[in-house]
């Protein structure tokens, strides 16, 4: 069954493209590592979206040409990047003042589990080596709108959008939208339940119900 799902759902880039539909002109956006990074490739032409990097930069450019790599110019994933004409640099304290203070319009993050009340778990698995939460807890607590992009089920086929997270939380009641390879769930505020607003081509609402244990409305 797992292979079937992969065939008919969205692939990584399509998930990122779906997330990119949430962008608006003038938005300031923070993108997490992995699929969220791909959102940058899907910004509509003519739309101004400014990307923030937690390590102290607004206006992230593309990866540099080989002869322009600069060790002093990296993103939060520690990858070399380039700057743009509108770039500004600042300290980590100022960067998170920006994040915590609600000045960033949108963050797109990966997730291990999301609960039906919008809790997110994405930073540690008990028993495994803990690498740390980095800036994830600050982002989910501070950014105006949080989108999680993740596979609908784990490699074992277990649902990841569930009644209550089993893993330690990154944030409680913080998620606004969930984009999986199969569907999109959204809620208008943090007191409302999630609603299934979209399914991937070839995916039925029935299939979503079967692969989701979280309560949501349709």
């Amino acid at each position: 069954m797992a292979t079937q799902v992969e065939a008919k759902g969205w692939d990584r880039n399509q998930m990122a493209a779906r997330a990119a539909k949430e962008l608006k002109d003038g938005y300031y956006v923070n993108l997490g590592i992995g699929i969220p990074t791909l959102v940058a490739n899907n910004i509509p032409q003519g739309m101004t979206v400014t990307l923030q990097s937690e390590n102290g930069m607004l206006g992230i450019g593309p990866f540099p040409y080989d002869d322009q790599v600069d060790p002093d110019l990296i993103n939060a994933g520690k990858q070399t990047i380039s700057e743009l004409p509108n770039t500004s640099y600042f300290s980590s304290a100022d960067s998170f003042a920006m994040i915590r203070g609600g000045h960033i319009d949108l963050a797109v993050l990966g997730g291990m589990e999301v609960s039906e009340t919008g809790d997110l778990a994405n930073w540690m698995v008990p028993g495994k080596m803990i690498k740390g939460m980095g800036g994830a807890m600050d982002l989910v607590a501070g950014v105006k709108k949080i989108i999680v992009v993740m596979e609908h089920t784990s490699k074992n086929g277990d649902p990841k959008f569930i009644p209550e997270c089993t893993l330690p939380l990154t944030g409680k009641n913080v998620i606004d939208m969930i984009i999986t390879d199969l569907a999109v769930f959204q809620r208008p505020d943090h007191d409302s339940p999630f609603r299934l607003i979209e399914t991937a081509p070839g995916v039925s609402s029935q299939e979503i119900r079967e692969k989701t244990t979280a309560h949501y409305v349709e």
Partner: protein, 235 residues
């Protein structure tokens, strides 16, 4: 008043003691105070608590002090990419206080700004909140986090003038600025020392008051963790 020291060892003289708390600038391997870390390693000072966003990688940055077992505790947000760290941590030889990245930056900034505690929404309802006071402001819960006032701050800058005014370059600013202010004493290493009057007074990232001792650390062989590039389009 001479702030410029001939080398890292001289600049740290009299400032190191076992069990001390050190705040270190840098993000990954970007903007880390390499010369000062080397001198701390050479000094043999031990039982250190180090507040730093990351813990270096094996044999680079703070990884060097982990290797020599000089670190008792790390206050950090992300410690991946470090096998020796992992070994010591899993063996219970190294204590780690995981602190969200923004909370860590703000704790340093607060400590340097005379603020012993502040409330943040970051970490509410998570393991990070355990044992911390929760207070409600305007209907939302926040947790109390403590300022960090370090015995010593070690940072890496780009240029400093002879009076200690200092500027950073691009994303190498990161934790260097808040770490500097959090130290009872801050020692800085830079790539270039310029005459007083050479830097634009409107563009100083770290005013001279914070830089008590200064060394020229150049030349640097800056490391890159993940070299990512794009292809040049054919002309």
């Amino acid at each position: 008043m001479q702030k410029i020291y001939p080398n890292a060892e001289a600049a740290l003289e009299g400032l190191l003691f076992d069990g001390m708390l050190i705040a270190a600038g840098g993000f990954g391997l970007c903007g880390i105070p390499e010369r000062l870390i080397d001198a701390i390693q050479a000094s043999g000072v031990k039982d250190l608590t180090i507040a730093s966003n990351n813990a270096g990688i094996d044999n680079e940055g703070l990884g060097k002090l982990l290797r020599t077992r000089q670190v008792k505790k790390m206050i950090a947000s992300y410690v991946g990419e470090n096998k020796e760290f992992e070994r010591q941590y899993l063996a219970g030889e190294l204590e780690v206080e995981f602190t969200p990245q923004g909370t860590l930056a703000e704790r340093m900034r607060a400590g340097g700004a005379g603020i012993p505690g502040f409330y943040t929404k970051t970490g509410v309802g998570t393991q990070v909140a355990e044992g911390k006071e929760v207070k409600t402001f305007d209907g939302d819960d926040f947790i109390l986090e403590r300022g960090i006032r370090a015995d010593l701050a070690i940072i890496k800058g780009w240029k400093a003038d002879e009076s200690g005014n200092l500027v950073f370059r691009k994303t190498a600013r990161n934790f260097n600025q808040p770490a500097a202010t959090s130290g009872k004493v801050c020692v800085a290493e830079v790539e270039e020392i310029v005459p007083v009057g050479s830097l634009d007074p409107d563009s100083i990232h770290l005013p001279s008051i914070y830089v008590k001792r200064l060394i020229l650390g150049a030349p640097y062989d800056k490391k890159i963790e993940f070299r990512t590039v794009r292809e040049r389009e054919a002309a």
